[in-house]
Amino acid sequence: MPQVELRNITMRFGKVVAADEVDLIIADGEYVTILGPSGCGKTTLIRIIAGILEPTQGEVLIGGKNMKGVPIEERDLGYVFQNIALFPHFTVQRNVTYGPMVKDRGKDEQRQTAQKYLELVKLLDKMQMFPSELCGGEQQKASLARALATDAKLLLLDEPLSALDARVRVDLRYELRRIVKRLGLTAVHVTHDQEEAMSVSDRIVVMRAGGIVESGTPQQLYTRPKDIFTSNFVGETNLLEGWVKERAEGRSVIELRDESTIVVEQCDFDEGDAVVVSVRPEFVFPFTDGLLSKIEYFTYMGTYWRVTAEAQSEDMVEFDVPAAEGKLYHPGQEIYLMINRKAAVVFPRPKEGIAEAVKLE
């Protein structure tokens, strides 16, 4: 069964290091997403797994076997591209039977395979159509059915939803996970979209500049990120600059630039250390006491309002209020903001500055 293992993979394109000594193990049956900004090396990595690229250094093992010199068609994997790659002059059905056909499967088996996977992606009624007669989401479903029809247990998804409309993307990502899990496949999915990554994955691997920043379940990365880059990349967050004023078990005090203070439950740094506190907007709330802040503007998010305020410490703070309570606040208003101490995560203040540490491109 396909466990995927990358050992010390390095990939150089001239001076550019697209992968820098990457080690990664993807367990059999696991759905792993490689998430990162443009140019972080995520596409290089999935192409190395597929055998489209040969790494400069390091080894790829699939199901325990070293893949050195093994071409893509012999790695027993399905691959779905960002730019939908169907044969335009074949019907959907012929596109899907292509894999079984080149493997010399009998006609009946070809038909049954196509039937099975087209049903799974809900395209049975359109199997006699040509790709150009389908809309984008359906074309990508057909590409998925074709990748699945190889009966491979390893599925590689290279930004499979990026070319689609936002609304279609949302529907399809839930489908994608449902299908992968039902078939018990090992899936490696590459994306720059953190929402998509959270919805589909068992585990997310965050990449930046050719290296792995950290990996964890969506919940771990969102609630307890180990790196400040992750805290900002996987979901939006407030980053407040300060120093550790008091350190105590379960209750540490952080002083901000204007000498105001916030209390956090967990802090692994010593008194006097320069730190950054990350707290997500849904864990900041107006209170009778806390950080004195001035409301700047409101954004309607449908089921809630996101409010942007500037604290006296000159940190920008975003917080959410329920849709029905939007009327209680107005721009220019001064309020106190409290932070949920359990939800705050404390990082060392980056030497290069916060902006550089969380830079998105």
């Binding site: 929402e195 309607y300 998010m301 491109e361």
Partner: protein, 363 residues
């Protein structure tokens, strides 16, 4: 800056009705998002305003001035596409000064315009950089500076954030809007991304098959959708099909299997076949207490701020709910939950003529 009006615009490309009696009114200085699925006619609307496409029928006004016969270069409307179209062999400064109205300026005035533009788009340190040396956000700001340097009054944005990474897209939304608003430009921003429209627009116009189906503030469009399509396109919705059986402070709707739900009063009569729409974020689920009906939890996905819960409801189909993520671990696949919503969060629509599935198609 001009107010823009499109009146009864028709534009056909063969059998395709790209504009089908299109009416739209964009106020002076307004930031309006034109939201719709691929192929709805969004880009055609932009091109009609810019003058790159001529309508078969209908009239276009900037202020009180009819524009149908005005050439694109005389409209002071500038279109910014998804790919920015900068000249790769020219620097930032040369790109900005490329516009036709600038070539004739004196060196002194050119210098002044350039400095103003660089300051405005925060590129003062990079006038000598080539486009390929810039990040996506910087390229976009350069393209915007070039557009503004040529004296544009109307800004036409064709999916301006599409080529950027998802996370970057979110952080550039406010920046782009603030820039357009601070210059007082009349802006039409085309997008297929409902969240982008909610966050950026003064008003949203929802377009489908060449016609505008609703115009309103983000809150109006989200809370008061004009059709089941809008209800589902702008924030996902759950649907319930049945007959109106009572109208009091709320409308009561009952389906063929005897389940009944409540919704906000609407323009329908007792006995009418209707569709009730409620946003997934307003669909409440709980193991205890009352509900309109029951469903079985199929899966629970952690999405950060929220959990996305898929439910299977016998005789009705699949429902989804978004609930705060602190409830993670309290709901498991297989759990049976009560499903309900507050009547004022649900809206009643007459049953669409072509059926609900056809109505909800997003492509």
């Amino acid at each position: 800056m001009p107010r823009i009006r499109l009146e009864g615009i028709v534009k056909n490309f063969g059998d395709i009705k790209a504009a089908n009696d299109l009416n739209l009114d964009i106020q002076d200085g307004e930031y309006l998002c034109l939201l719709g699925p691929t192929g709805a006619g969004k880009t055609t609307a932009l091109r009609l305003i810019s003058g790159l496409t001529k309508p078969d029928k209908g009239r276009i006004f900037f202020g009180d001035k009819p524009m149908n016969e005005v050439e694109p270069e005389d409209r002071k409307a500038v279109m910014l596409s998804q790919t920015y179209a900068l000249f790769p062999q020219l620097t930032v400064a040369e790109n900005i000064l490329f516009g036709p109205d600038i070539k004739d300026l004196s060196e002194h005035d050119k210098e002044k315009t350039l400095n103003e533009m660089l300051e405005m788009v925060r590129l003062r340190k990079r006038p000598d950089a080539y486009p390929r040396e810039l990040s996506g956000g910087m390229q976009q700001r350069t393209a915007l500076a070039r557009a503004l340097a040529s004296g544009a009054e109307v800004l036409l944005l064709d999916e301006p954030l599409r080529a950027l990474d998802a996370r970057l897209r979110i952080s550039l939304r406010h920046e782009l809007r603030d820039l357009a608003k601070s210059l007082g430009l009349t802006t039409l921003h085309v997008t297929h991304d409902q969240e982008e429209a909610l966050v950026m627009a003064d008003r949203i116009a929802v377009i489908r098959q060449g016609s505008i189906i609703q115009v309103g503030t983000p809150a109006e469009v989200f809370d008061n959708p004009a059709s089941p399509f809008v209800a589902n396109f702008v924030g996902q919705s759950n649907f319930f099909v049945g007959d109106v059986i009572q109208k009091r402070e709320a409308t009561e709707v009952q389906d063929d299997s005897g389940h009944s739900v409540l919704a906000r009063p609407g323009g329908c009569k007792i006995g009418d076949r209707v569709v009730v729409a409620v946003k997934v974020g307003n669909t409440e689920i709980s193991k205890e207490g009352e509900g309109f009906f029951e469903g079985t939890v199929e899966r629970v996905l952690f999405e950060g701020r929220n959990l996305h819960v898929d439910l299977n409801v016998p005789n009705i189909g699949r429902y989804s709910s978004k609930i705060p993520s602190w409830r993670l671990g309290k709901l498991m696949p297989g759990d049976v939950v009560k499903i309900k919503w507050s009547a004022d969060k649900a809206r009643v629509f007459p049953m669409p003529e072509k059926g609900l599935v056809e109505e909800l198609k997003v492509e």
